[in-house]
Assembly symmetry: C2
Homo-oligomer: 347 residues x 2
């Protein structure tokens, strides 16, 4: 049921994203290219532009500009901030794909697949300095520099925790040694807040910061994005385990195959299961290679729990918090429709 | 002969480095740990500190502090800048070791060997944000942020060129495709200026910038470091091909094994050789795997040229330029002895 509901909101909300993409898109693309190409050698330019050329909905920079426009009636001064959030997103994707040996993203070869792992590292290093160039173009470079460092550290830490919550599958000495013995709901919320929430929070906050000196407003924008991001990640986790692969383009139970205790359904399911089934699920998650059959068995075990309903109720709680924060911000039709899209659907 | 001469200067100059290490070392270590540990989770701290704990002479931050003290009589305000140069150095080493699959550095396992490639990437990302924290503690955060971005891009570009000057050995699609058809002396000087010169130049310049608003002084410091860095890299290249492995702890002809046209002796040798020997050396450099015997044959071919003498004469030219720039800076015994060490010997 939840999917039909989401599908409906999604179809309607897609209109707002299309509309805002048309409005802001060319300016966002122009800013991204400007910062990435500054100082780049001719025979490095294509390599540097490739990652952002693979697409993405640009939801984060659109959010930045929509907040700026709702607050001040003008989004021009928020363009560097918009570039920063999209560049941080892609900076983290370049390294995520190296770490996860990803071959395809957005139906195209990943940067590491197209150019090689080691070239991808040189490109990743470059992205971080393009971010710095954009920071220097914001209205408050020192404040933005501090914020950017905190957010990149947050994403790095979220990624680290996500990996340390896995039960197997990585042979890096550090991951094997530092793996967590158990994972609680608080740990999960912290991890997804860092991994997913912080950058959406920053996208909203930095839009406000670019056009106004209003601490309360900036905090409300941050809280909106953080709670919306957590709600999104929870729904994404549910879709990973139970979603229709045809509809959501995901391999069902991918997180089980990836040994993740950092999926909310797995985490809540493990809490509920009796010892026998708990042991079985943990042993599936601990296998060096989890087969399709193992993953399906894991999904069936989780179907026997209330994990899905509890997860969706949790998502609702964060969604409500997000909307409560939004109500403290200046209203605009664009921002409200965009917020509805963000809190309902994945991005 | 050149080695005996260098050895003599080295022994004498080592005293100045020991002395300045004793003087500045504890403050440098304290600053490095402060910026690296800020916001770090308890189970990440050891991993984050490991790279800097593997040692290194701290020559760059010592240079920063010696310049600051020569200029102003005080080095306190240059401590963030000193931390920045050492952190940038180690940031680039973490990724260099991933790119080159390095197992051992400074007689210890590299970060990637000790923690794994993918953990090393999370650590590398963290180093860049520790650099940003230090930037925010400098007396001029925006100016330093701009300088730091330029220097990290320079190192990234230098590394990229060094790889594109290789004739074989990497299967990254980008490197294979973008490899340069030929490499000239100007290309080499540009590459080593970026790869090695820029950070030594920055170490000197940022020491001056931390304590004085004097553009000419900052430029002189930059020129000193840049020319000294180029002189160093040329001597290092000569030692790679002709040095005594016992004395310099290097595998002879390692750069030949690594297919490098970006070694000055190889580059100047190729210019001089007749077509037959030129073809033979190029074919050795182009072999997917260069054997010890191949490398020795390559060294013998280069011995038949004037490349070594020409390279050392070139190093002398850059050394003189470095000393000419030094003479435009305030004098101090420490700085002069340190400069003598830097322009003569590797670091």
């Amino acid at each position: 049921m939840v999917y039909i509901h989401l599908k409906k909101v999604y179809d309607g909300a897609m209109d707002v994203l299309d509309r805002l993409s048309e409005k802001y898109g060319p300016r966002i693309e122009e800013a991204l290219a400007k910062y990435l190409l500054r100082d780049a050698a001719d025979d490095f330019k294509d390599a540097v532009l490739y990652q952002i050329s693979t697409g993405g909905k640009r939801l984060r920079p659109i959010l930045t500009l929509a907040v700026a426009e709702a607050v001040s009636g003008n989004y021009e001064r928020a363009l560097p901030a918009a570039a920063i959030v999209e560049l941080i997103h892609n900076y983290s994707l370049i390294y995520d794909d190296i770490i996860d040996r990803g071959e395809v993203r957005r139906n195209k070869p990943t940067t590491r697949a197209a150019f090689g792992d080691y070239a991808a590292i040189l490109i990743g290093i470059w992205y971080r300095e393009a971010i710095e160039e954009a920071v220097l173009d914001t209205p408050k470079p020192s404040e933005f520099a501090r914020e950017v460092a905190k957010v990149i550290k947050a994403i790095d830490e979220g990624e680290r925790l996500d990996i340390l919550f896995e039960l197997a599958g990585r042979d890096d000495p550090y991951f094997v040694k530092a793996r967590w013995p158990s994972v609680k709901l608080d740990d999960y919320i912290r991890m997804v807040g860092l991994k997913t929430g912080a950058l959406i929070a920053a996208a909203a906050k930095w839009g406000a910061m670019s056009v106004a000196d209003d601490r309360q407003l900036a905090d409300a924008a941050w809280d909106f994005g953080m709670n919306a991001g957590i709600a999104f990640q929870i729904v994404d986790d549910v879709l990973d385990i139970f979603g229709d692969p045809k509809k959501f383009g995901k391999e069902i139970g991918k997180d089980i195959k990836e040994h993740k205790r950092g999926n909310i359904v797995v985490l809540l399911g493990l809490e509920e299961l009796d010892e026998r089934l708990r042991g079985e699920l943990l042993s599936i998650l601990s296998k060096p290679t989890v087969s399709d059959e193992d993953a399906r068995r894991g999904v069936r075990i989780l179907e026997g729990t209330n994990a899905k309903e509890r997860a969706l109720a949790l998502a609702d709680k964060y969604r409500e918090r997000a909307l409560a924060s939004l109500s403290k911000m200046p209203h605009s039709k664009d921002l409200e429709e965009l917020a509805a899209f963000i809190v309902q659907r994945q991005f």
